[in-house]
């Protein structure tokens, strides 16, 4: 990993003023990331990120919020249970929250579509963003989805368009925003709610453009090659941090978040508060432009 970090420094990538910040952040965290992860280690992150006992959004809400009022419905067609939205009291602040919710047992998983949102879910989220903006509530988002729901109605209702609109709604917010990938950060369904001032990622979460299985099916024409695919595109937290995609890594209890929900929640809570405090320091009138600049820096190319 140190090699790659060195390479990152040399390339004309992550350009502009953000680079130094990113690098120093990287430096601070690199001690924790012991070594270049092997194929097995990356696959372990994939498995942990999808672990059936991993805490979900509502598990964290229950532990981190003093009071939480869930909000429902897109005001047009339905309430999408794959995306939980609400307002509440978090560490003595009032905040708005949007998070994917996979569901614990098979019944709930099916009801929540395994955390795969429909356009109506993102529309509900945008409604809560408006509410946050109107009342000056910072916005927290928790990302945990295999991806947006790939069905007929979801497509017909404009899945692509609403993922785009949810992102630009986050881009336009004047309030501080913090996102954290707490499990699977799956492609468009994930970035729909992850365009934030600060983006965090739990140590065993993954964040990726496509599922390992999907990637394997396309590139190797063999879904069985998922492990190999995962090793190739490295959806693990250390890689995302190294590439400047996330700002910091949120530690998990030994063995992973599923081993101790309370401890995982405490660590997440501390990280969210720190990021929120950090994001709140920016002059509100400059926040939108700063947020744009952050995402502008993402990418690697030569000029």
């Amino acid at each position: 990993m140190r090699d790659r970090l060195a390479r990152v420094r040399e390339l004309p990538l992550l350009r502009g003023v953000g680079v130094r910040d990113e690098l120093s952040r990287l430096q601070q965290q690199i001690e924790r990331v012991q070594a270049e992860p092997s194929e097995e280690e990356i696959w372990r992150a994939v498995e942990l990120a999808r672990h059936q006992d991993r805490p979900y959004t509502l598990d964290y809400v229950e532990r981190l919020f003093d009071d939480f009022v869930e909000l429902h419905g897109d005001r047009h067609l339905t309430d999408d249970p794959a995306l939980v939205c609400g307002i509440g009291r978090f560490r003595s602040r009032s905040v708005a929250l949007i998070g994917h919710q996979k569901g614990r047992d098979i019944h709930e998983r099916s009801r929540r579509n395994f955390g795969m949102a429909f356009p109506e879910g993102y529309r509900k989220g945008m409604r809560v963003m408006e509410l946050a903006q109107r009342h000056g509530f910072p916005l927290l988002t928790l990302v945990d989805t295999p991806g947006a729901f790939p069905g007929v109605a979801a497509e017909q209702h404009g899945q692509g368009g609403w993922i785009a609109r949810s992102q630009i709604a986050m881009a336009q917010l004047g309030v501080p925003t913090v996102a954290c990938v707490i499990g699977e950060g799956g492609s468009g369904g994930a970035v729909a709610i992850a365009l934030a001032d600060r983006v965090l990622m739990q140590a065993n979460a993954i964040y990726s453009v496509i599922s390992p299985e999907g990637c394997a099916a396309i590139l190797w024409r063999d879904a069985e090659q998922a492990k190999k695919a995962a090793a190739a595109f490295r959806p693990n937290a250390a890689n995302c941090l190294q590439l400047g995609v996330v700002d910091s890594i949120v530690q998990e209890p030994p063995g992973g978040a599923h081993e101790d929900h309370d401890a995982a929640a405490a660590m997440l809570g501390d990280a969210l508060v720190a990021a929120l405090t950090d994001a709140s320091k920016i002059d509100a009138t400059k926040r939108r432009a700063k947020r744009r600049e952050k995402f502008r820096m993402m990418g690697v190319y030569t000029t």
Binding site: V152, A164, Q167, W220, A232, G299
Partner: protein, 289 residues
Amino acid sequence: MSSRIDVSVEQRGSGNAPSGDPGGKAGHPNTCPSCQSHYRDDELAATYGVCPQCGHHFPLRAHERVAQLADAGSFAEDDAQLRSADPLSFFDVRAYTDRLADAETTTGLGDALISGAAHIERRPCRLAVMDFAFMGGSMGSVVGEKFWRACERSASDGLPLVCVTASGGARMQEGILSLMQMPKTVCAVDMLREASCPFIPVMTHPTTAGVLASFASLGDVAISEPDALLAFTGPRVVQQTIKGEKLPEDFGLAESNYRLGHLDAIVERSGLRPYLGRLLAIFAAGSQQ
């Protein structure tokens, strides 16, 4: 999100080729996949790459598109020197760097999007055009950065941006960074909005996945060519989720998107330039009010 569109749809029609195939022209780029008519290059050029028999819109290369839309000699390309790096040292059955080199050789392009200053119907604007021939029009760091710069120049000049899309989605080989081109290009559109610059994407076949789910859907006006596949998830993958059920006939196509409220207009290729000219005139007058 797939970095390729469904082959089934990409090549729709071609499976219906008469088994005879006189002259072995099926699959030839100048053979119409809908009606099997075959054309010389100059014939297709004269019809904007539209089959005179059945109206099929053949894919256009980026420079052909520019020639059709921009006033003669007005296009001045920017950022042509940008090239992808290989942040993951990505290797599937081939190295990403090899794929890039091949694509550049084949297409003569540095990546899947070109952009520059242009005039359309005597109205100054910025014009960006994607090319599906370059790795399926997939969006990696270079596409994202070029789009960002096009927006930045539009905003600083107070000019509209017209962007013709054609993309299978994210450039998987750049891993998570390709996904990040979605919020990046969305932020670029936000910059345009803050500057009150019109943004007019023209969606062509295919505009899917990460491109549809980012800047392509954020236009002031939503326009498509006929028959284009515009879907976040393509029909092949959706078919898997619904098992035996039958997909609607025109699932994901421009016509169904129009009917379902996602498009302002479907514009035939020959009418695109005047249509854009009208829009630019309306927006230009608006900005002087």
